[in-house]
């Protein structure tokens, strides 16, 4: 079984601040990490390696410092990691991103044979579109299961799994080859073993440029991206709630809360209905 995991390096969102004057992310000095959702894809890949003896490649498109994310990914005990990096890939929207990743996957196929399963995170903590996994599936012509929450069974040519919908869950059979995008519910990423960690610290990822993957510069990066960012907005800062009672007895606090609530029409309506229905005393 051959598996490719797509990972993205993102700013550590626990550290991200937004400059409220310019509406830009303050990226300076913010450390990068593997996109949180991708951690669950890596964990699944590690399990596929253990249970199904899969050969696993990790791939990312990004700037040279994305090497660090790839090294971290190797600590899950996976086989190889590939960085797709070239000026020609810069400024990509999701269409161009999936093109480059697709070409990278094709190149991996040349080395290890047909890829059976491609794993991606549900969405990226910064870009947040959730389009990359589905886009890669389309380009590869693979079946797609997005928002995977659990995997029941992996058979020779299909996987039985559960995916999350807006409301509830759906159990489906997915034909292999396939692309799965996974949610945090799927599993708990491991704390790497020391031998795997040491291997990852010493590991040097493979780096491919546009010529290595035979990418058409017109389809990759800025020139391959029909989308233009016209404007970005952030929701206004949330106002803190009102405190209606401070250091008062529970009785007074409750009374004040009730008075506040009664200002809402829906609650007044219920009050009114009570007259009709009668109190339950």
């Amino acid at each position: 079984m051959n598996v490719v995991v797509l990972i993205k390096q993102v700013p550590d969102t626990t550290n991200v601040r937004i400059d409220r004057k310019t509406n830009n992310l303050v990226r300076e000095g913010v450390p990068s990490v593997i996109n949180p959702d991708c951690m669950h894809a890596l964990e699944l890949a590690a399990q596929l390696k253990e249970k199904h003896n899969a050969t696993v490649y990790v791939i990312t498109m990004g700037p040279p410092q994305a090497i660090n994310a790839l090294k971290d990914a190797i600590s899950f005990g996976l086989d190889e990691a590939v960085l797709l990096s070239d000026r020609a890939f810069a400024g990509a929207d999701t269409l161009a991103t999936t093109y480059t990743l697709y070409k990278g996957i094709k190149k991996i196929e040349e080395k290890i044979g047909k890829i059976d399963i491609v794993l991606a995170g549900r969405q990226a903590a910064d870009g947040d579109t959730g389009q990359v996994g589905p886009g890669v599936a389309t380009r590869l012509g693979y079946s797609l299961a997005a928002y995977v929450t659990s995997i029941e069974k992996i058979e020779k040519d299909e996987i039985i799994l559960t995916r999350r919908l807006d409301r509830g869950y759906e159990k489906v059979r997915v034909k292999i080859p396939c692309v799965l995008t996974v949610t945090p519910e799927l599993n708990e990423p491991r704390y790497a073993s020391l031998p795997n960690l040491i291997r990852s610290l010493r590991y040097q990822p493979i780096v491919w440029n546009k010529d290595d993957i035979n990418a058409d510069p017109k389809k990759a990066g800025f020139f391959g991206s029909p989308t233009r960012v016209v404007n970005t907005n952030i929701p206004p800062a949330r106002k803190g709630g009102d405190i209606i009672s401070k250091n008062e007895s529970p009785e007074i606090a409750a009374q004040k809360l009730l008075d506040e609530l009664k200002k809402f029409e829906s609650i007044r309506l219920i009050e009114g209905l009570r007259v009709l229905v009668g109190d339950k005393k």
Binding site: Y191, A192, S193, L194, P195, L197, I198, L201, R202
Partner: protein
Amino acid sequence: MIKFDVVVIGGGPAGLSAALTLAKSGMEVAVVEKGEYAGSKNVMGGVLYTHPLLEIVDNAVERMVNEKAVERSVIEQNMFLLGNGSVLKVGHRNPEWKNTPNAFTVLRAKFDQWFAKIVEEAGVLIITKTKVEDFIWENGKIKGVITSRPEGEIYCKAVIIAEGVNPILTMKAGLRKEDIKPNMAAVAVKEVIDMPEDIINTAFNVDSKSGVTYEILGEWSEGMFGMGFLYTNKDSISIGCGVLIEELKHRNIKPYQLLDNLKNHPIISDIIGEYKNNVKEYLAHLIPEGGYYSIPQLYGDNVLVCGDAAMLVNSIHREGSNHAITSGRLAAETLVDAFNKGEISKKTLKSYVERLKESFILKDLEKYKDLMPTMEKNQHFIELYPSLFNRLATRFLTVDGTPKTDVEWQIIDSLRNERGLIGLGMDALKLWKGVR
């Protein structure tokens, strides 16, 4: 099985210095660091002296400056005695330090990462996000370490403990009987306050490469013995203070209350002005203050302790990182000699202590060994003198038509009333004995 010649526990200045020295002699070294990266959890004021680095890193000063590992070269150092709303100060400025830097202000997260990179370049493997939890023992000798990771054993021929102020593994190695006591460590809190580069340059009268330091005694510490500090970074300042845990416990005061006192003192408040609330980072850490008497057994059969773990800090002179770097190097050099002799045992590692005695480290710690106990026993050193000296200075410098002879008598009278001339003489003697 994972094997190295030497495992170093802790990626602070002591551990990194030891690892670098070992690697330069061709040894296979792993540093195990529990933090996210070297320096991620470490705190310092921080004034970093250049001398110990020059011994182990080629072109250390140029590299530190060019690679932005340090903030500003210290060209002026001041001692402030804060009185009630006033200050008595002594300082020294020497622009020559621009050409031959003596010390730099640093932010540890940056400096330690730089140092770690140099150490990695020398071939050391730094294993981060991994904690050493115990030792592997065989026939009463340490054979390796057990880390927090699955399959986490590392076997080695010797271990250097550079775990910092909490001597957990030093105790497990049998080199220290009991944990540090509340009178052996200070809690220090520190804030990094954003302040634009040009404002710092104007406020402290320096250019962008140069910086100043203030050590601050007196009013803010509510009578407790503690050291406050304010150092200039590139575009921020570090301000903080430290007081013995015992005194804080005894007085039931929280460290941040003291830091607030310091920041709100009119003299300090004037310096940092409106930037007071631009707090970018808040940090807290322990500083070993036990000095000479708290030093553990420094070596065992195939184990050595260095840096804060060995309590090698001269708190009077806020020197810790230089002791850490130097003791790390000396521990490593001792080990290299032992490897060359083919015998790693108490016998061959004993010379570590001799090396420390020959260096400034134990000489200085011995010199000051009684100063802290003297200060602790004589509360009035801190309670009385800073404010008294401030009042005397004000009296001396206020010109109001009183003849100078009368002013002098007024001063002598206040000294007599507030401390007594014999008391004064005794204090001078005690202080002299403390630093002799």
